[in-house]
């Protein structure tokens, strides 16, 4: 088994708002192995992006990690000084954001912005940095890199800008790359280009990827391990095959039933009833129980613990506990 590069234990993140404290992430645990890709999937407000931002400590002013540990190669990064944190960001772990239109500064050239990242994290001279920037652009498949360095973001297409963002994230050869909905703003054919590029680069550079997305298709193509989040908690985590072929949480099952089938059979979709929960008004028990068809009495009262379903596959659902107890009851009787 390869080594754990990131081990997140019982992470809590909350935001102070006028309406009260919003617990966006509520006891999330997972780990990421060296060179693997992990997908975090969930709908809006499930806490998937906040989990990613907590790792890099780039939450907005009113947000704060309130508990838990984030171990990077055994060191708790929550105990880092601001100085160490700056070293961690960009150098060890970098991020690409959803919207390539807004995450580049429109008033600086591509070269300027790329070189800034390189100069910050390595001790290259300006000239070397320019050469490196050119090299990076070639690596991410941007044609005519020399000319592009002198261009401004508005002169480039969305797919091209996302490539620039990836080049910037890779500039210091990070060990972990966090991609927060990297292709949501792009067209399908451009999305295919970017996903292909990320897979290629992962093979070449050997970095680990955390992919945050709501698109189950992207997750299925890209990820070895998957975490399914709902209402700030992890419902289920396991390998891609575990999640897609043997889902053990009612929410995951519902999600998979609600997407149209791949082979084009025109059966009715089975939607998940109700609407996503309000984080300001979290239920006492399982966050999903108000939309769950098979909810038990205990689901309303108590938050289910994470349990092992099969090796490497965990789920937090009372129904599994019930099934197991019935099973052992039968065995005993």
């Amino acid at each position: 088994m390869s080594e754990k590069i990131l081990d997140v234990r019982n992470l809590h993140t909350s935001f102070r708002t006028d309406a009260g404290e919003v617990r966006a992430v509520n006891g999330v645990s997972f780990n990421l192995e060296e060179g693997k890709s992990l997908g975090i999937v969930g709908e809006s407000g499930s806490g998937k992006s906040v989990t990613a931002y907590s790792i890099l400590q780039i939450l907005t002013g009113n947000g704060r990690v309130t508990g838990g540990e984030i171990l990077f190669r055994g060191e708790d990064i929550l105990k880092y000084t601001p100085q160490q944190m700056r070293q961690f960001r960009g150098k060890k772990c970098s991020i690409i954001f959803q919207d390539p239109m807004t995450s580049l500064n429109p008033t600086f050239t591509i070269g300027n912005q790329l070189m800034e990242a390189i100069l910050l994290h390595t001790d290259r001279t300006k000239k070397e940095a320019r050469d490196r920037a050119e090299e990076l652009l070639t690596l991410v498949g941007v044609n005519e890199p020399k000319r592009r360095l002198k261009q401004y973001p508005h002169e480039l297409s969305g797919g091209m800008r996302q490539r620039i963002m990836i080049a910037m994230a890779l500039s210091s050869e990070p060990d972990i790359l966090i991609a927060d909905e990297p292709t949501t703003a792009l067209d399908v054919t451009i999305q295919a280009q970017i996903l292909e590029l990320m897979q290629e680069l992962q093979k070449k550079i050997g970095m680990a990827i955390i992919m945050v997305t709501h698109d189950l298709g992207v997750i299925a193509e890209m990820c070895d391990e998957i975490i399914v989040m709902y209402g700030g908690r992890v419902c289920e985590r396991g390998s891609a095959d575990d999640i897609f072929y043997g889902p053990a949480h009612e929410y995951t099952k519902g999600l998979l039933r609600s997407i149209p089938s791949v082979n084009g059979q025109k059966e009715k979709l089975i939607p998940i009833a109700g609407t996503p929960i309000n984080l300001l008004n979290m239920p006492k028990g399982c966050a999903f129980c108000s939309r769950c068809d098979n909810a038990l009495k205990i689901c309303l009262e108590e938050v289910p613990e994470e349990e092992l379903v099969s090796p490497g596959h965990y789920a937090s659902c009372w129904l599994n506990v019930k099934k197991r107890m019935e099973g052992s009851g039968e065995a005993a009787s």
Binding site: I190, G264, K268, T275
Partner: protein, 334 residues
């Protein structure tokens, strides 16, 4: 092909927008450049393509939200003109993409749904108006007590239901759905998609379903049209186009769709196109796709390929369709 009377019959629809390029020069941006298609009563035609291909413009031009530059549109056998459009509006409606900006924040749900009824004088007294609104709300699965609330009090999925109820208010025969589920979460998408299907079964309404989520389009559509740079490149039955796409663009588009199934995803080969979509202001001569086409040949630059019926009901616009058989064997979605 038209022994059967088509509900929607569009012929050579064109929509150009003037674009100022500085120094007082004005160039035509050919958003839609000669698109023809038909939709039967109670049928769903899916319209797919990437951003900027003109799919939204087609929908908006049909409803005369823009004044078309050229082409003809027959609705239920009647040529649509500026003159008869106001009366035809009762039969054609639209559901917009963004449920957040397409509802007036200062109106209650009752007034939003009631507005089309007011415009077309579809009630004789207040009580009848209210009754109609409540029955519409029931049709789309909203509670009667929501009638006095404002749009901001609802979630995205519920707002989309309000938008659909508004479109249904005048009892239309044809609804243009412009990316109606794109702004919604996956678990809510299925609710809305199911509702569209149920409404079609119940009311027999036809849809032009514009979307970029190709799995959803396949699920809901009877036939699907693929657009590229303002032109239609392929049109066929939903299953036919997914299982045997013929146009090289449709093939790569369909092979790019991420499949929510890891085993299939691992085995399947993507046809990744190089480069970006050219600007419609500066479209390539001849076949618009030739700059990115893996099969592109010199003669593709000479003239625009026509949309031809290659097999019964399967239309393709490509100069090299003699290779169709070979291409058909090629890479499939699965």
């Amino acid at each position: 092909m038209s022994e059967e009377k088509m509900l929607v019959d569009v012929r050579e629809l064109k929509q150009y927008f003037p674009v100022r390029t500085g120094w007082g020069k004005v160039l035509p941006l050919k958003a839609v450049d000669g698109v023809s298609f038909t939709i039967r009563h109670g049928e769903t035609l899916g319209l797919v393509g990437e951003s900027g291909c003109g799919k939204t413009t087609v929908g908006r031009t049909l409803l005369r939200l823009y004044k078309p530059t050229g082409g003809e549109f027959y609705f239920d056998g009647e040529l649509v003109t500026e003159k008869n459009m106001p009366s035809l509006r009762k039969q054609m409606q639209m559901v917009f993409q963004d449920p957040y900006s397409s509802l007036n924040p200062r109106m209650t749900v009752e007034d939003i749904i009631g507005e089309p009824l007011d415009v077309h004088h579809l009630y004789s007294n207040k009580a009848e108006r209210r009754e109609k609104i409540l029955s519409l709300m029931e049709t789309v699965g909203l509670n009667a007590e929501h009638a006095t609330r404002y749009a901001h009090e609802f979630s995205g999925g519920q707002r989309q239901r309000i938008g659909i109820a508004r479109a249904l208010a005048v009892n239309p025969k044809f609804i243009v759905c412009d990316e109606p589920v794109s702004a919604l979460d996956v678990s809510i998408q299925a609710q809305v998609v199911n509702m569209f299907e149920e409404l079609q079964e119940k009311l027999g309404v036809a849809y032009l379903f514009i979307a970029h989520d190709l799995l959803v389009v396949r699920h809901i559509s009877h036939r699907i049209a693929v657009m590229y740079l303002g032109r239609m490149v392929e049109l066929a039955d939903a299953d036919e186009i997914y299982d045997h796409p013929m146009h090289p663009y449709s093939k790569s588009l369909l092979s790019s769709v991420p499949i929510p199934d890891p085993r299939i995803a691992r085995e399947r080969r993507r046809i990744v196109l190089s480069g970006d979509i050219p600007s419609p202001l500066n479209a390539p001569s001849g076949c618009p796709f030739r700059t990115r086409c893996p099969y592109g040949q010199d003669d593709c630059a000479e003239c625009m390929p026509e949309l031809k019926e290659v097999e019964s009901g399967h239309f393709v616009a490509c100069h090299h369709m003699e290779d169709a058989a070979r291409m058909k064997e090629g890479v499939q979605l699965r």
